[in-house]
Symmetry: C2
Subunit: 258 residues, 2 copies
Amino acid sequence: MKTGKEARLQIRKGKWSYPTSGIALGYTQANMVILPQKYAFDFFLFCHRNPKPCPILDVCEAGEYSPVLTTKDADIRKDLPKYRIYEHGILKEEVSDITNIWNDDMVTFLIGCSFTFENALIKEGIEIRHITENKNVPMYITNIECIPAGVFNGPMVVSMRPIKKELVEKAAEITGRYPKVHGRPVHIGNPSEIGINDIDCPDFGERLTINEDEVPVFWACGVTPQAALMRVKPEIAITHSPGHMFIMDIKDEELINL
Amino acid sequence: MKTGKEARLQIRKGKWSYPTSGIALGYTQANMVILPQKYAFDFFLFCHRNPKPCPILDVCEAGEYSPVLTTKDADIRKDLPKYRIYEHGILKEEVSDITNIWNDDMVTFLIGCSFTFENALIKEGIEIRHITENKNVPMYITNIECIPAGVFNGPMVVSMRPIKKELVEKAAEITGRYPKVHGRPVHIGNPSEIGINDIDCPDFGERLTINEDEVPVFWACGVTPQAALMRVKPEIAITHSPGHMFIMDIKDEELINL
């Protein structure tokens, strides 16, 4: 599975139902959110007003399942290995195909994912702790409020990666090249300054070892718009399952300075 | 009128009803489009899919008249020197205040304007012909189709500036720094390649002198989304009057590489 297209076809045929990290390397992977049309303008605006946690890569019209800007021949109803279906904000089911519940009222948003900048960091010799420890990245609800839009509001969620002191500026610079996948860190160092009381108790994901010569570095996280959405408790919402992303036809390198 | 705020207050008081070119220099000026809520998602998507002609700087919720990202204390119902009111795609009236026809169904879009990059070109010693000839910039309907979104579609409209051959690359590079105000040219040279049959007959604006040592250079133009909107013939739509822009609190320099 060397290209996004190859990967999507394998997934569509039911031959790959695992996390997508590391497959079709170099092709951009994205968070996905599907919601009823009546919430679509407010959600679009929420993302536009909060581009660091919610960088929009592509949006489909109601009923449309092929993202025209990035991945024209995809079928987002089948091309992700796992979906989560929420009713009134509560997880109801995890499935590998949503064709049977798809309808023409559904609007799809594809949002930048940290895989893009993690690959860039690794390429430049910066260790990504949750990968080496084989864990989920730790995520924290902060005291940084997003700019509200219509029915959507809430705090920014951040992900944390421990970085060696002497590499922090380099990591910030590298990720800053990718504004469409969260960009530069939103905070470096003292967790309590952004409302995180216990770095060892993430709100989502798993705790990581932070060594003495390392600093916790915090990036805006794509869980932010999902959390804002769930707070609204829409009658139905569908997302990718964590780590089971949508793989695009565009490449990470095309996102540099975009 | 040195700042955006000072300029807006003078305009709000009725003390400035002229074009805004050259006032509050350095502060970003924007195109404005107001439309009924039912068209808002499609229009947002049309702009997102066509960022060169339709670079969105700020969007207000229905009924909201202060743009939260760029110009929090503005009142877009009073802060532009002249507005155009369209009914079913037909210009009905030109007014200096829209408070009396404002309602909670109206959604406002603020879209980047070429004034920003023209100021940058002038600063770097590149002549802007329509300014020196005291004319409106010539604009042409091209054969480049925009990516449709919902009810919106149509050709890209471009503006043309004659540039000395040896300065064309420099002009392209300078304007490329400003992706949020149309960015690099969409075409350089032969007008017929983008469907322009007679460079001396622009579809909007006025013809300009093109000297022997000059090349016509074409940039995506903010008239594109207005033209797409008028084609839909909404019961009501309001725009700025040509040249009578909305002046923001953000500065042109903040838009570099944004």
